[in-house]
Symmetry: C2
Subunit: 210 residues, 2 copies
């Protein structure tokens, strides 16, 4: 085999490992993900799996990065480019978010909700990476909200962090009801709650300061 082909194959193998890891981690957690199980499910040796990452912690960090890329592809990149900035884009972003969770792209639901709950009581680089991803997403939401304020579609005294807080809560509830109760009416409840938050500005139902 030429070196080039080996490199390409190694990359492919690495991606297979990461993809399967996201599925396992969404179901059993990033700690429940074990090298031995991964190896046997992929028909590899443990050393073959670990060789791509070095340590389990590096694997966990790689899985977090892959989950962030998956989310970016499935949610923000699904918002049509032609939508004007401001409230229309914010609404479309939230709808893409609901639709992503409804599709159950990962068998255990939202990767970052599961990872946050698993690592919020711990320390270390894995926890820090999870916190960082949540912070990035909140920043993204904040930009959309600010734009909607500047276009006048949201009132000038909108408390962006309060609105983010409530949006996150609604989505946490969606994941909770889908995963724990297998409640198929949860997406409709989510959309109804979103409509209350973002859909009827002129009835004064947007979150505001104090």
């Amino acid at each position: 085999m030429s070196p080039r082909k080996s490199v390409a194959e190694a990359r492919h193998t690495r991606q297979r490992i990461v993809d399967r890891s996201m599925e396992i981690a969404s179901l059993e957690g990033l700690e429940g993900l074990t090298i031995g199980r991964l190896a046997s499910e992929l028909g590899m040796s443990k050393a073959g799996v670990l060789g791509h990452f070095g340590t389990k912690e590096s694997l966990q960090l790689a899985v977090i990065d892959a989950a962030a890329e998956l989310f970016a592809r499935q949610v923000p990149q699904q918002v049509p480019d032609h939508l004007p900035p401001g409230l229309p884009r914010l609404r479309a972003l939230c709808e893409a978010w609901v639709a992503y969770l409804e599709r159950e792209v990962l068998p255990g639901g939202c990767f970052f909700t599961a990872a946050a709950a698993e690592f919020d009581g711990r320390g270390g680089p894995v926890r820090d990476a999870i916190v960082g991803m949540h912070a990035l997403w909140q920043r993204d939401l904040r930009l959309h909200i600010r734009r909607a304020v500047s276009t006048g579609e949201l009132p000038p005294d909108t408390d962006a962090d309060q609105l983010i807080y409530e949006l996150i809560g609604i989505m946490l509830a969606l994941n909770h009801y889908l995963q724990l109760h297998h409640d198929r009416s949860a997406p409709a409840r989510t959309r109804r709650a979103l409509h209350r938050l973002l859909g009827v500005f002129d009835r004064g139902q947007i979150a505001r300061g104090s």
Copy 2:
């Protein structure tokens, strides 16, 4: 030692095990809870710990029961008896719920949020017990909401399950912000969101059917 004293001491030891287990499980999860760690932290042998429960699964189920008792003591039983049924009791219940999470009674935050996220992708008796506890709590909330509808304090077309959904979401967000981001402004955000849901009925902001 007389048998009576032995029995009392055994009960006391068992309670010590369960109390410490709740703390560990709130931080590291019900699977991260291991017999060996528990034994060394309590200055006992593994066999001494396991003798009280038989299997790890039985220990996990006992911890779930204890966490439910703790929640009952700290939340619903904190609502003053003199409060009239209906909206005042529902509001007091939600305030007790926020205050409980704010106090950080368990170091890892809400036991049942962590347990639900950990076991929602699994099967078995532990998962079933967690689902059952969530169902009981939702039933409790539903009774309070229905009473507030019957007193006329909530509108007759109130969608109780929608309101429960949004209350759960707000509390999931509270736990998330406290545990992952150590955000001390989260309780105030929670109360603001609760006020929007339960505080200003006459402005038509209660969740309604369709």
